[in-house]
């Protein structure tokens, strides 16, 4: 039964929710603006079949940069996500490659059947690019797509990608364009952290990559949680905990070989960290893979709880739900 929250204690300082799309970059962190928008412009300079489509969220998915550069390749479909994806299917049927953008909540929850039937079932070459993945908005469940990976993993033909940073987004745009078939890609937009360049990392579709090695724990992560895992691993080093980080940007198809090789190394706690509900995402995908393969390390999940998440400031919420750097480090230390 619905209950209304009790009134807060007044007269003390508190963080504010601020913009719908709060930055996930820490203060002073290196960032790049709109990596998706710029990468799509680069792509469209080499391929004339690229079209950009959105449902009234061009500015909020960095697609406005493409629209400005290629106005004749840009379709504003209005605030109508079912139409957006149905029309994307139609354009793909005519030989074009639509990059269709909206928020992850609207693609996964509102337009699911349209994507399932007109794009995935017909194996149309549509790239679905969605901002506000997982818990990256403080506006509450209306804007928090905690279950998007679970929903799109369950859809046949769909490739599912959860990138970490601006460096990776810039690389994966041409990579998913080279892949024939539907793709769901989580989008980080605005000022996006740059993290993986320092590790000599390169995105390859379907490949998990070991970003750093370590003998005590293996953190298997995707999306912004790889950034958090790397920061947590650095912090844990001060406590003499040696943590490896395996970045798995392609959630489906899963790189079983690399995951089994790393998780199969003896003596390490395996922790899957994801910006997603504990149900049906990377954690459960890895758990099932390990079970099927007869590999049984000590296993823990860092993920969002199976509940409707609070509204509030992102740092507060990331701490509350255990996906902040400090919380990742604290939990791993506690489990060791």
């Amino acid at each position: 039964m619905k209950t209304v929250r009790s009134a807060p204690q007044l007269g003390r300082p508190r963080l504010t929710t601020s913009a719908m799309i709060a930055s996930i970059a820490a203060e002073g962190q290196k960032t790049k603006p709109a990596p998706f928008g710029h990468a799509l412009v680069e792509l469209a300079r080499t391929r004339s079949d690229v079209v950009g489509m959105t449902a009234d969220l061009g500015k909020y998915t960095d697609l406005h940069i493409f629209a400005k550069e290629f106005p004749d390749h840009y379709y504003q479909m209005g605030m109508a996500e079912q139409l957006l994806f149905g029309a994307a299917s139609g354009l793909a049927a005519e030989g074009f490659m639509p990059f269709a953008t909206t928020y992850a909540v609207f693609a996964s929850r509102r337009a699911y059947d349209f994507i399932h039937q007109t794009i995935a079932e017909e194996d149309r070459n549509v790239k679905i690019v969605c901002a506000l993945p997982g818990l990256t908005s403080g506006y509450g469940p209306s804007h928090q797509a905690a279950e998007d990976l679970a929903l799109f993993r369950a859809m046949p033909n769909m490739t599912v990608i959860d990138p970490c940073d601006a460096h990776e987004i810039a690389q994966l745009v041409p990579a998913i364009a080279a892949h024939q078939g539907p793709v769901y890609m989580r989008l980080l937009r605005g000022q996006v952290p740059v993290v993986l360049d320092e590790y000599g990392y390169n995105f390859e579709l379907g490949k998990a990559k070991l970003i750093r090695d370590g003998k005590d724990a293996l953190i298997i992560s995707s999306g912004i949680m790889t950034m958090r895992a790397l920061e947590a691993a650095q912090a844990l080093k001060n406590d003499s905990v040696d943590a490896a980080v395996l970045h798995v940007p392609t959630i489906k198809p899963l790189d079983a070989e690399t995951i089994l090789r790393e998780a199969g190394k003896p003596g390490r706690l395996v922790v899957v960290a994801e910006n997603h509900t504990v149900i049906g995402g990377l954690g459960e995908a890895v758990a099932a893979l390990l079970m099927r393969s007869g590999i049984h390390p000590a296993f823990r999940q860092i993920a969002l709880p199976d509940e409707f998440l609070d509204a509030g400031a992102l740092p507060t919420l990331h701490d509350r739900y255990g996906i902040s750097t400090a919380e990742v480090a604290r939990q791993i230390k506690q489990w060791l």
Binding site: Q82, L83, G86, A87, G90, A93, F96, D113, Q117, E121
Partner: protein
Amino acid sequence: MATSTKTLTNTPTLADRAYNIRRNALRMGEVQGQGYIAQALDISDVLAVSYFHAMRYRPEDPSWEERDRFLLSNGHYAIALYAALIEAGIVPEEELETYGSDESRLPMSGMASYTPGMEMSGGSLGLGLSIAIGMGLGLKRKKSEARVYTLFSDGELDEGSVWEAIQSAGHYKLDNLIGIVDVNNQQADGPSTQVMAFEPLVEKLQAFGWFVQRIDGNDLEAVIAAFDNAKSHPEPKPRMIVADTLMGKGVPFLEQREKNHFIRVEQHEWQLALAALEAGRQA
């Protein structure tokens, strides 16, 4: 072009085509013992005019780039479209006996990946017009002269997505779209106008920027004129044909059967239906 031999003259008339489509549908219904046969009978005249008067296509090359596209949004009308595709020579007549059977390319609900000439996977209602928007935009990008025909049902007017598409077609002035809405006033739970009032349909569609014609969808001359007008209309607007049709058209005892979305036809009645169809044609 066509493979049928059931015609009375060497050059089949559109009435012959409509008869053959109805006959093909009844034969498939007999294979399965059931089906959306009343809808197939009501839309056969529209399909005859679409495939044998209005549309450009090559039966031997169903994905010919310059073909007119035909989207079947109401996937449960597949039996009717298969009947037309057989008559058009796109699907071999021999496959008729496989309708709705294991391994068949003619499943009960239409899917693009199963059947030559089937442009979309319907079944989940309200999808077709959205796909048509994308195809219409894509054809214009390619500077193609091809048109996109989309058949959908009056029940689909309940779906919000249909109105998203209708609004955007007006916005983009997609004059290469021709929609056909089958107003047989019957959907799963009863008469469509009672399930959810959708009238005044013509005025609504006009207000959304469409060129709209309302016709008796079982009057061949009216159907021909409506398709001709839809193709030649000079305004840069999408075109809609609102076709009022009669469930079971052409088989009097099915026309009179208590109205039902999924009519029951007893095994012995299929031959009676074929005979009644033939009798009506001779009269």
